[in-house]
Amino acid sequence: MTPMQVRQLADLLLPGDEAGLPPGSRVPDVMLALTESTAPIIAQIGRHPDFAAPEKRQAVLNEMERSHGQEFRDLVLSLIKPYYESGPVLEAMGWRSAPPQPTGHVIAPMADDLTQALAEIAARKRIWR
């Protein structure tokens, strides 16, 4: 596959959106995963005569997905992983890029109004046999 085709493939699989989610080709680790991948399906997609035509590319991928189910799925998963791990993608989705530890997260304590609700439940007769 040519570098141009690699970018086209990345963007078809992970197009991003107007609200700031980057297309796959803008995420360095996705491009690295694609260029370093030895999965034969990538070359097959590149060789497909219709892949050169922008309006037919989507159909090529649909066809490949049908004919090479597991291989195609593995390829997509191998790109989804670096994509959704990347800081800009996490942030575009409203999440933080730092991993869960060591800072952890702050979450709300039990709301005050629930104390009364709990008292009502505790006052119920037992529900065990």
Binding site: D17, I80, P102
Partner: protein
């Protein structure tokens, strides 16, 4: 292969997980003179390998820290969890476990409910399956002791249980999700309560408080989550129990109807024979049956009656932003409104409803269909940070065709291969459907704009139970009420395999309590 014969010991325990750890500690406490060795196939959990501090924390649960051993093996694995392949094709639920010191509590969610008193008496009360050979109140002191060692956060006064001793710590923080769900339960007039969790809500027993980081199933770096490698094992080792890691028990040698010791392979694959007066097996509902079958223990019920707790999820999608993938995943609030039998529902026994927390972004993305293109990204935009999942656990009843058996192949660990056959009964499916319908009502009451069901949820085989059940009849049970095998009385079992029935609530609290009780009795017997 030549075996090196070792000096004899009094007791060999196989498996350093939930049951094995509790048994070892209690036995050594009660009978300090005994020489006790525990053989554990895996190594110690290594906090440096836990992914929560790294950018790959999301993918770890799909690869090397997957809860399913087959997925870990596929990802290359490591001997912290020294896994074996399980033929799971014929099982609706895929088995989940951790095979190292701490056993599956390394990977667990630490939701820590007890069974109900009725769960021990299903034959007497509901006319199904069998009663346990003892009841809730017999086990209560052991529940209390297990709670003390594990360290429990929670709240007194729950009407779903007989009064319990004061919990050591206050409940864990709720988050927006649990606050919203709790109001919905209350609006419907249904029971809910903060869970008992074996997670520190405040610093306790030398371990930090939970900082709500989220990915509990890939190990807890802060050690806020109790696992038996952190709770029981340091205490047992201090008392003098010897724990040998990367030590795979391959065979229990049986001569004239009695076990004479255990053949095991060490980290260099060298075989040793460790003679012992008694052998205690705690390899979990799959590992125990596998080893006993491989050792030629003859017992008609061995490997049969595999029970999981059939599980399904329903997710509500909300317009408002909720918490996202934070907070201890299985530990917020639960409901036992529908736990006890009500025959008007069309089935015996009941369901456990447990509020869960949102999956990591990558996990959600990898489960969408279609998987690529604009549609899944648009769906993620709508759902991520806007989801409230509820887990429905139903009660399995023992059925002989649901089983663990050996294959004709030899696995890399030198034991025969192991296979699961499991299908959901019509009764269990009815209870799942019932539970899902109730959970849907809650989500609607909480304001969900739509809901999505995953039923059954295949990657929920957390609870591996019943394959060496206790009972009095050697035709239908494998051990007596003290965990002694009918066929070979100096082989004991001390793990989840013992459960004659399973209730609908998570089992580890009961596994620990039963192991303590059995060890206490055994100490009197062997002394």
């Amino acid at each position: 292969m030549t075996r090196k014969r070792q000096d004899p010991v009094d007791v060999v325990i196989i498996g350093a997980g939930c049951g094995g750890a509790a048994f070892a500690w209690q036995l050594k406490r009660r009978a300090p003179h005994l020489k006790i060795v525990c053989l554990e196939r895996g190594g110690w959990p290594d906090p440096l390998r836990m992914p929560a501090k790294t950018m790959r924390w999301q993918r770890a649960i799909m690869e090397d820290w997957a809860s399913n051993p087959n997925l870990r093996i596929k990802a290359g694995g490591y001997r912290g969890s020294n896994d074996y392949h399980i033929d799971e094709d014929a099982s609706v639920f895929k088995p989940l476990m951790w095979n190292g010191v701490g056993g599956s509590t390394v990977a667990w969610a630490a939701h820590f409910p007890r069974l109900h008193p009725s769960d021990f008496r299903v034959r007497s009360l509901d006319g199904v399956a069998d009663d346990w050979p003892f009841d809730y109140f017999d086990l209560e002191p052991w529940y209390d002791l297990n709670d003390e060692i594990m360290g429990v956060s929670g709240l007194d006064g729950d009407p779903a249980y007989p009064p319990k001793r004061r919990r050591a710590m206050p409940p864990l923080a709720f988050g927006a999700v649990a606050n919203r769900a709790a109001r919905a339960f209350s609006d419907l007039g249904w029971h809910w309560w903060p869970v008992d969790a074996a997670i520190n809500s405040v610093r306790h027993d030398g371990r930090d408080a939970c900082n709500h980081c989220g990915p509990c199933l890939t190990g807890c770096i802060s050690k806020a989550k109790a696992s038996v490698d952190l709770t029981y094992w340091p205490k047992s080792i201090a008392l003098g129990v010897e724990l040998r890691t990367i030590a795979i028990a391959r065979n229990i040698e049986i001569e004239a109807g009695r076990a004479s010791g255990v053949t095991y392979a060490d980290r260099n694959d060298e075989e040793h024979f460790l003679p012992a007066q008694a052998v205690v097996v705690a390899g979990n509902g799959i590992g125990t049956a596998r080893l006993l079958l491989a050792s030629g223990v003859e017992s008609p019920a061995l490997g049969r009656n595999l029970m999981f707790h059939p599980a399904a999820y329903i997710r509500g999608i909300f317009k408002e932003r909720l918490d996202g993938p934070v907070g201890p995943v299985g530990a917020s609030i639960y409901s036992h409104e529908f736990y006890e039998t009500d025959r008007s529902r069309g089935f015996e026994r009941g369901v456990h409803l447990q509020l869960s927390r949102e999956n990591a972004l990558l996990v959600q993305a990898s489960r969408l269909s279609p998987l690529w293109g604009e549609a899944p990204q648009a769906q993620l935009r709508e759902e991520f940070l806007h989801t409230m999942p509820i887990l429905v656990l139903a009660e399995d009843l023992p059925e002989a065709h649901n089983r663990v058996s050996l294959t004709n192949t030899e696995e890399r660990d030198g034991l025969p291969g192991v296979k699961l056959d499991y299908r959901i009964s019509e009764r269990a499916q009815k209870s799942l459907d019932f539970g899902l319908a109730r959970a849907e009502e809650i989500l609607k009451a909480a304001g969900a704009c739509r809901t999505v069901r995953v039923s059954p949820a295949p990657l929920t085989g957390w609870h591996l139970l019943g394959t060496a059940r206790m009972g009095s009849d050697p035709q239908t049970s494998v051990t007596d009420r003290y965990g002694r095998c009918h066929a070979v009385p100096n082989i004991l079992i001390a793990d989840g395999s013992l459960f004659p029935t399973v209730g609908a609530a998570n089992p580890a609290s009961t596994i620990g309590a039963v192991a303590l009780q059995l060890a206490d009795h055994f100490a009197g017997e062997i002394a």
